[in-house]
């Protein structure tokens, strides 16, 4: 983990309100797990004050890519930054998807919803590299929000769902999973909480890993803003911190 002013190599819009930011920094060398995230300071001043947790989409020779949705003041400021400027980044943070849990020859189903899609790209890359069959299922609100379909297709089949049916299959990612004829050995997912809950309940594979999202303060485990209950002790005192124990948890580990 380090704090670094990373240089912007590119910052471009890739779908409606979705931006892909490529950064150069020494901390790229420390990124070793897909699903980890960085904590980005988007403004020099007081507003917004806190950093923004954004997942890492890809890691490549001293460069790393993050993808974010322009939603509020902070992400709008980030979207306004251009090539050559620097961004204050803290990372890599958290524990990502366990690539080792998938064996060569096995089938992994990767499920991404909205801004939950980005970590699936680096995950797909690493799984494919070790000989795991990758099937990606990505879901969006509508056609203008779709991104990374082609990129994911480099590593295996890709299915797209849109809620309004304007692209791919109408409905949710779970509608696609339910119709899959292939038996998955492992499922990896990142997206909105209802989607993660549906995937956990669906028990689509012997092993399932889910990446959670929660409002964070520090991003490193000190502030206790992003804690969740464990399923072993759902109303008790044992807890996991999404930022430092996660954001990736095995299905059944924490209460979603």
């Amino acid at each position: 983990m380090r704090q670094e002013n990373c240089k912007i190599v590119s910052n471009r819009q890739i779908a409606e309100n979705i931006f892909e930011l490529v950064l150069e920094g020494k901390l790229a060398a420390e990124m070793n797990q897909p699903g980890q995230f960085v904590h980005v300071k988007v403004a020099d001043g007081f507003d917004p004050l806190l950093r923004r947790p954004i997942s890492i989409a890809s890691i490549n020779d001293g460069l790393f890519t993050i993808i974010y949705r322009r939603q509020g003041k902070g992400t709008s400021l980030l979207a306004d930054k251009s090539t050559g400027m620097t961004v204050d980044v803290l990372g890599p943070l958290g524990n990502g998807f366990p690539v080792d849990e998938a064996n060569p020859g096995q089938t992994a189903v990767l499920v991404g919803g909205g801004v939950g899609v980005p970590p699936m790209y680096e995950l797909a890359k690493q799984l494919a590299r070790k000989g795991v069959k990758v099937i990606s299922i990505i879901g969006f609100q509508s056609s203008n929000a779709v991104f990374y379909e082609k990129e994911l297709a480099e590593f295996g089949e890709v299915y797209v769902a849109t809620v309004d049916g304007s692209y791919g299959r109408k409905g949710f990612v779970t509608d696609i999973i339910n119709g899959l004829e292939v038996q998955a050995d492992i499922v990896f997912a990142c997206g909105p909480t209802p989607m993660l809950r549906a995937i956990e309940n669906g028990q689509y594979a012997p092993k399932t890993y889910l990446s959670l999202e929660e409002r964070m303060g520090c991003g490193i485990g000190a502030c206790f803003a992003c804690v969740c209950h464990t399923q072993e002790d759902p109303k008790g005192f044992t807890y996991k911190k999404v930022c430092s124990d996660g954001p990736v948890f095995q299905a059944g580990e924490v209460v979603i």
Binding site: F46, L49, M216, C218, I220, G221, F224, Y239, S244
Partner: protein
């Protein structure tokens, strides 16, 4: 003697900068970033007799220049803090100020008694001002008589000096400060967070699951400065100031208002290296102000016949 070293009841500080309670956990996370021994002290997370899970999430919300939190004093409980967290911190050459909390007077007494026996705990911070818990916390901090009585009880059992953390959520903070001084407090820490709220425009509902939370960050600094300015003129015990400190300049301002040391809270989340940076930059500020020692600055804003050397840019 270093220009930054400070002597306060129970505390022999290398420098006056310490992370504030609740913003630094028990130091484990920040120890991955820098050597905690460089800090003046560490105010560790509030400890209650029993483990607490805290409030439901979301527990934080942003405001312009600030942050609302409603963590709810989540902590692993007295035994775990005493047997695991504090011994772990012994590897660092840094005094610990243990923040103690509870729902009843007996809770506070129990935690104070045990934690004050930990070898690296040099002072207690009596947390009577947390706005995010329904019982205890702020109930003690807003009633001068209760604050005084609780301070006295904790003093009676504590092996180390007791600092009382004051709430800004009162109409007359001087009254509470005097009450805890009467109760035997060795020092005061101030301010805790200001009770606040934000509402999501789209849902029409409060953003925090707890509805309300404590406001911290640079937006509360003027309130903290004003309160320290008032309190420091009416008590004879030292004040550790906090509330929106982001820089060495802010620390100097807190000293001028009447503080004798300074704690950094929210800014640790924004810049995890803020405490070492401030420690590094303070000597330059003393030189600019013509001060040989940082303690010379305490209360200069209200002390008569004491003027700083002219600012030399």
């Amino acid at each position: 003697m270093s220009s930054l070293s400070i002597q306060l009841p129970g505390l022999n500080l290398k420098n006056p900068v310490m992370p504030a309670s609740g913003c630094f956990g028990f130091g484990r996370e920040f120890s991955q970033l820098y050597d905690l021994s460089m800090l003046g002290a560490i105010m560790v997370k509030a400890t209650t007799p029993e483990p607490r899970f805290g409030n439901p999430t979301p527990r934080v919300a942003e405001t312009p220049g600030g942050m609302l939190n409603a963590i709810g004093l989540q902590n692993p409980g007295l035994e775990k803090v005493f047997n695991e967290e504090l011994p772990w911190l012994e590897q660092f050459d840094v005094p610990i100020i243990a923040n103690i909390a509870g729902s009843t007077e007996d809770d506070y007494v129990k935690v104070a008694e045990q934690l004050s026996h930990a070898p690296n705990v040099h002072a207690l911070e009596l947390n009577i001002s947390c706005p995010n818990v329904k019982t205890g916390g702020i109930a003690f901090g807003t009633d001068p008589d209760m604050a005084k009585a609780l301070t006295r009880k904790v003093k009676n059992v504590s092996e180390v000096p007791v600092y009382v953390k004051l709430s800004p959520n009162v109409s007359d903070i001087v009254k509470v400060a005097r009450a805890v001084e009467d109760g035997g407090a060795d020092g005061i820490t101030m301010i805790n967070t200001l009770l606040g709220m934000r509402i999501d425009l789209m849902t029409g509902q409060p953003i925090l699951a707890n509805k309300t939370g404590g406001l911290s960050g640079p937006s509360v600094k003027p309130v903290a400065i004003r309160m320290i300015y008032e309190v420091s003129q009416h008590v004879s015990i030292p004040i550790i100031g906090m509330g929106g400190i982001q820089s060495a300049e802010d620390v100097i301002e807190f000293f001028l208002a009447g503080a004798s040391a300074a704690a950094v809270g929210t800014q640790n989340f924004v810049d995890p290296f803020v405490c070492p940076k401030i420690i590094d930059e303070l000597p330059e500020w003393l030189a600019k102000l013509g001060a040989d020692h940082i303690s010379e600055l305490t209360g200069r804003s209200w002390k008569k016949n004491e003027r700083l050397a002219y600012y030399r840019p």
